[in-house]
Structure formats: C-alpha cells, structure tokens
C-alpha cells in the first residue's frame, strides 16, 4: 500500500506544473471538437496531432495526446446523445439510451450521466493503473488464442440479451453482422473474400461510414417519414418538437446512489477488457450495457432513455481507456487502436515502453500514469462548462439541423479513408438501417457482431492452426470455462426468455436498438 501511495505521489508531483496541466486541458478541448464531428475519431485526432508534439518534452507531449484521446471519446458522446450520431464506434451503445433521453427533453441529464460515468470510470482505471500495472499485464500475456476465442465467443452470445423481444431477429442481425465483417482479405491466407472484385472492399467495410449510415442517415429518413405522417395528421413522437424539461438535471450524488452497482460492474468489465490486448474499446461498453440491462431493476427501460444505460456504457468506455495503458506502458502492447497510434508517439519521443523504463525513468512513467488521472479532472471541468451550451443544439430548427447533419455525415464518411466509396457505404447502410428499424430488426446485435467478427475469426482459426481438433478450445481451464459459459448462455437464454415472457404475460419490451 505504501509503495502504491509513493507511486501516486511521484506521478502527481511530475504533472503538477502549469504547462503540463494546461496541455492536458488543451488536449481534451481539441479532442472534444474532433469527437463532435462524425467521421473524425479519437484515433484520427491522436494521429493528426502526434506530429505536432515531436518537438515537445515527453511529459508535455504524451499528456497532451492522452487529453486528445479522452476528449475525442467525450465529443463522440455529445453527438451520440444530442443528435443520435455516434462520433466513434465506442459511442454507439451510449446512443441507445442517451439519445432517447435527450429527445424526451432531458439532454443535460443524459450528458451529465455520461460525463459522471466517464470520470468515474477513468478514475477507477487510473487507480488500477497505479496498483495493478505489473501483475495484471503479466496475467494478460498468458492468454492465448483458444482463451481469446472463448472470451470472444462468450461476448458474442450476449447478442441474446441485446435482441429485445425477438431473439431470432437478434441472431439474424448478428449473423448478418458477422457476414459483413467477413468482407475483405482472409485474415490467415490473405486472399480476397466476398469482395466481388471491388478493390475498395479489400480492406473490409469501414465501421465509421457504416455506423453513420445505420444511425444518422436512417434517422434523417425516419424524420422525413415522420414529417409526412404529420402532414397527414398523425402524431408521431419523432416529429414532435422536443420540450426541454425543467428538472433536466442530475447530480453526482444521485448517480452514485442510484447506479453504484452498475458503476462497479462497468468499471470492472472495462478494466478487465482494457488490459487484454486486441479486444478494443468498442467491445467493453456493449458488454457492460448488456450486463446492466440484464441485472438492473430498471432493465426494461433500457433503450428507451434510461440514464443507467448511459452510465453503464460511459463508465466502461473510460475504464477501458485507463486500463489499456497497463499493457502499453509495461510491455509496449497497445490494447486499443488510438493507443497503437500513441505508441508511435512514445517511440518518437525516445520512450520505449517496458519494465526497464519503469526502473530507469520512474518519474516519466508515473507522470504519464498521473496524466491519465488528471485528464479526468480536465474532462470533468470542460464537460461541466460546455454541457449547457451543447444542449442548445436541440433548440436548433430542424430545417437547419438535419441538412447540417447530412453534410457533416457525407464529409465524415469521405474523410474516414479519403474515398467516395465510403460515402456509398454510408448510403447503403442508411438503407439497411432504415429497413432494419422499420422491420423491427435490432441494430445492436448487428454492430456487436461486426465489431467482434474479425477477432472471433482470427482467434478461432489461429486456435485451429495450433491443433485441428475442436479439443483445442478445451485445452486450458480458462478457455474451457469461457466456451462452456457461452454455450450455457446460448441454450439457457431462450428458455429464460420464455419463462420471463410467461410471467410478464403480454408485456411489450421494444428492441433496445430501435432508437426512437
């Protein structure tokens, strides 16, 4: 305990300088602006701004980039909540409850829930960084392909809980998501697969244009539909003007008192996934959201504008960010895409992350760890200052707002890979999203399966390369336990659902992904 406190003091002493704290605040601010624009991701922000930091001292450059990364994630939350347009893939689950909550007239509640969740998740992960930096990373390194497949397979079975009333529709959506994720190069052999001769598909379907299409473009199509129905005298919630509610506030204490179980669960989930290299920040909020939906007494409200859903995803999102620094700093293994870009900045600064760096330059390393903690403070301060300004976006007339979203979406899809092809992808998935939402097919399982698909396949096939028999997945206690748990979820979840349906008689729980 004494050593941990000593490490914290070393780190805080290093960053307790006006210029370093200023750089962290600046990074969060710039990152937020990036994250506000669909198509510009936290990864892109770190990549674009890394070259600007080459001439700076490492303890200025790296904290700045950490701020950019954190700000990028926060900016994506704002657009997801207010406009229903996820800034990054990790913000998609936040949208499921954040946007309906904003549409009910509680935009500040939604954003404050997200902000408090983010800060709590990050503080938890920062403390974890200080305490478990060595042992957890060592344990994560022991995980091989069969164990990784077990974990991915188990995560995929969570689709059962994301499917709302129709489990078959959920699995159909998941199957289609896995199918779309197979487009591109075969991960083992490297030959084209399901590309139909289209060279732009060799790299696979890009997630950013896809989610912009599924959410933003289909939302505009639904708005058009709602307006036409309104012209016919039919009242639709979608076409109704948003009335800001007078009690649109939520306090720290309220969030902690009401949702402490979810906060602990999401922190632990995010931290666990963050230390596992390769799973990425997109997976953990889905898992936390699903667990929270399953375990919370407010679970039936999830997907309809439940603040607990927002807290679950944002705590997890930021816990994963902090925890992902553990394998990065100790072993030089980035647990996430933006951290992979940041690893380049470390190397450019002459810092080669590893155990020896903690021994040789503990001030710098613990200073960087402390910067993760301080970036939470910066996020909190800037978030609180800007939330009410951002909330006014909802007061903008629709004839200004939706054309602007459309133009930003087109530019965002194009800027993702600097190609018109991604705008076609966006339009295509706009149609898919519209049809999914109008036929009651949930979007959440589709996206979860798309995100997990390549990782599931990679782990599955690498395991079979080790041993062609199916027994490879039961070769260790961890992989056996995960595969068995996944199979149990697959078999038992429909039975549990039927019992629940019997108990609830004809209660109608909407699919959570059908964001209305």
């Amino acid at each position: 305990m004494g050593a941990i406190l000593e490490n914290i003091l070393i780190g805080l002493k290093e960053v307790a300088a006006f210029d370093i704290i200023g750089m962290i605040f600046l990074g969060v601010l710039i990152g937020s602006v990036f994250g506000l624009i669909p198509g510009l991701t936290a990864t892109m922000a770190v990549a674009v701004l890394s070259p600007l930091t080459l001439t700076l001292d490492p303890l200025l450059a790296i904290p700045f980039l950490i701020g950019v990364y954190r700000g990028g994630l926060w900016g994506g939350v704002v657009t997801a909540v207010l406009l229903g347009v996820p800034g990054t893939a990790a913000n998609v689950p936040t949208l499921l409850d954040g946007h309906p909550l904003a549409r009910k007239g509680y935009p500040q509640t939604a954003m404050r829930s997200a902000l408090y969740g983010s800060v709590m998740g990050a503080v938890f992960a920062s403390l974890l960084l200080f305490t478990l930096v060595g042992p957890v990373a060592s344990a994560a390194l022991e995980i091989g392909s069969p164990e990784l497949f077990g974990l991915m397979f188990f995560s995929l079975t969570l689709v059962s809980f994301l499917s709302g009333r129709h489990i078959a529709k959920g699995w159909l959506a998941a199957g289609l998501g896995l199918g779309v994720s197979m487009i591109g190069l075969d991960p083992i052999i490297g030959t084209p697969r399901f590309t139909f001769g289209v060279s732009e598909l060799l790299g696979g379907v890009e997630i950013i244009p896809m989610v912009i299409g599924l959410f933003a473009i289909s939302e505009i199509a639904l708005q058009i539909e709602a307006r036409l129905m309104k012209d016919q005298g039919v009242a639709l919630a979608r076409s109704a003007d948003i009335q800001r509610q007078p009690d649109d506030q939520i306090k720290w204490r309220t969030v902690i008192r009401r949702y402490w179980r979810t906060i602990l669960q999401a922190s632990a989930t995010g931290a666990f996934i963050g230390v596992l290299p390769g799973i990425g920040s997109e997976t953990s909020p889905w898992i936390s959201y699903t667990i929270a939906k399953r375990t919370s007494k407010r679970g039936a409200n999830f997907g309809k504008g439940e603040p607990e859903g927002v807290v679950a995803t944002e705590v997890s999102n930021d816990a994963v960010v902090g925890a992902a620094f553990i394998p990065l700093l100790v072993f030089g293994i980035p647990g996430d895409l933006p951290l992979a870009v940041m690893l380049g900045a470390f190397l450019a600064q002459g810092l080669r992350p590893g155990p020896s760096l903690f021994r040789d330059q503990p001030e710098v390393m613990y200073g960087i760890v402390a910067a993760v903690l301080v970036s939470s403070l910066a996020l909190y301060v800037l978030g609180r200052l800007t939330i009410s300004t951002f909330a006014r976006v909802l007061d903008t007339p629709k004839w200004v707002l939706y054309p602007a979203i459309l133009v930003i979406s087109i530019a965002g899809a194009f800027a993702n890979e600097n190609t018109v092809f991604d705008v076609y992808v966006m339009a295509f998935f706009g149609i898919v999203g519209y049809l999914f939402r109008r036929t009651g097919v949930p979007l959440a399982p589709f996206i979860l399966a798309f995100v997990l698909g390549p990782r599931v396949e990679q782990a599955f096939r690498e395991s079979l390369l080790l041993d062609t028999s199916i027994g490879v997945f039961f070769s260790s206690p961890l992989s056996s336990a995960l595969v068995i748990a996944a199979l149990l979820v697959l078999v038992l979840s429909p039975i549990g659902r039927n019992r629940l349906a019997g108990a609830e008689a004809l209660s109608d729980v909407e699919p959570i992904s059908d964001v209305e």
């Binding site: 892109m44 078959a168 699995w171 159909l172 199918g179 058009i224 036409l228 459309l406 097919v441």
Partner: protein, 186 residues
C-alpha cells in the same frame, strides 16, 4: 426527473386503416425468407472462395478448409435464425391469426418512397462529389432537405445549405487537415 411525460404514440393508428400497405409480404416470415436466401448464398460463396484460394496458394488445403469452415458456420447461423423466425411467426399466426405486420407495411407508399428517395439522393450526390467538387452536390442536397423540413423560403434553405457546406469544408480541410474532394470543380 422521475416524473417524465409519456412519449407520444409513434404508431400511426389512424392511418393504418386509411392507407394502403405495400403488397410485399409484410410479416416476419418475409424477413426469414430474406435471411434464408442470404444464408444459403453465403454458404455457397464460401465454397467459391475456397476454390479461388487453393488455386492461388497450392498446398494450403488445411488452411483453406478452415477458411471455408468459418464462413459456413456464419451462414448456418443466418439460416438457422431465419428458419426459427419463419417457424415462430407461422406458429404465432396459427395461434393468434394476426401476423405481426412490419411498421413498413403500415406506411403509405409515398412515405416509404420519400425516405428511400433520400437515401438514393445521398448515393447520387456521392457520385457527383468528385466531378463537381464538394460544395455543389452537398449544398443542393442540403437545400432540398432544408426546404423539406420547413425552411421558410428557398432562399433561406439555399443560404443555410451553402453556409453549412462551406463551414463543414473549412472545418475538415483547414482546421483538421482532413482531405475532402476539391471545393468546386466545374
């Protein structure tokens, strides 16, 4: 906070009786049939993929088999969930006699057409991005959309669209150094 107003009913119940639905089979069995077609197609495409791979990399049969196996597993998942969907919907029909109609089928043709028309317009504007530059297709599309959403006049709609397009262009290209097609190319 706990006392939230109930959302307005989204179901256009009054139009349900008056408007004509689409003639396409509009219950979950139709969705299941669509899934079935996609699943079967994926299964056979995986075989074609395997044949192409073994031609490219001779002697890698074992790896190729694994390469075929995974897409087949995915296709089986799609097929099975589609069959379950068809079966459950058929059982529901027999028991209740009331198919669960899609929201799509409850909407007039004009409404679905307009929504899908927007998506086609987005694709068309993407086609025009490179030959005409960023500003022309995006501003035209945004002008029509602004007017559709109730802009007071064509002039205001056009001005709003033009300003939005220019601001977005400057934001991406100047502030964030993120490349977009040329602003104007005529």
């Amino acid at each position: 906070m706990d006392e939230r107003p109930e959302p307005v009913d989204e179901t256009p119940s009054s139009s349900r009786r008056e408007s004509k639905g689409l003639s396409f089979p509009a219950d979950d069995r139709g969705l299941g049939i669509f899934g079935l077609v996609i699943g079967v197609a994926t299964f056979f495409l995986a075989d074609l993929q395997a044949a192409a791979s073994s031609a490219l990399i001779p002697g890698s049969e074992n790896t190729v088999i694994q390469g075929t196996f995974y897409p087949r597993v995915v296709s089986v998942l799609i097929v099975v969930s589609s069959i379950v969907l068809i079966a459950t919907e058929t059982v529901r029909l027999r028991m209740a006699g009331d198919p669960e109609r899609w929201m799509l089928s409850k909407l007039p043709h004009r409404v679905v057409g307009a929504s899908l028309g927007l998506l086609v317009a987005v694709a068309l504007s993407a086609l025009a991005l490179e030959p005409l530059g960023f500003i022309v297709p995006s501003a035209i599309l945004a002008t029509f959309l602004a007017r559709w959403f109730g802009a007071p006049s064509w002039l205001k709609a056009g001005a709003c669209a033009l300003v939005a397009s220019i601001v977005v262009y400057v934001l991406f290209t100047v502030v964030f150094k993120s490349p977009l097609p040329q602003l104007l190319r005529l």
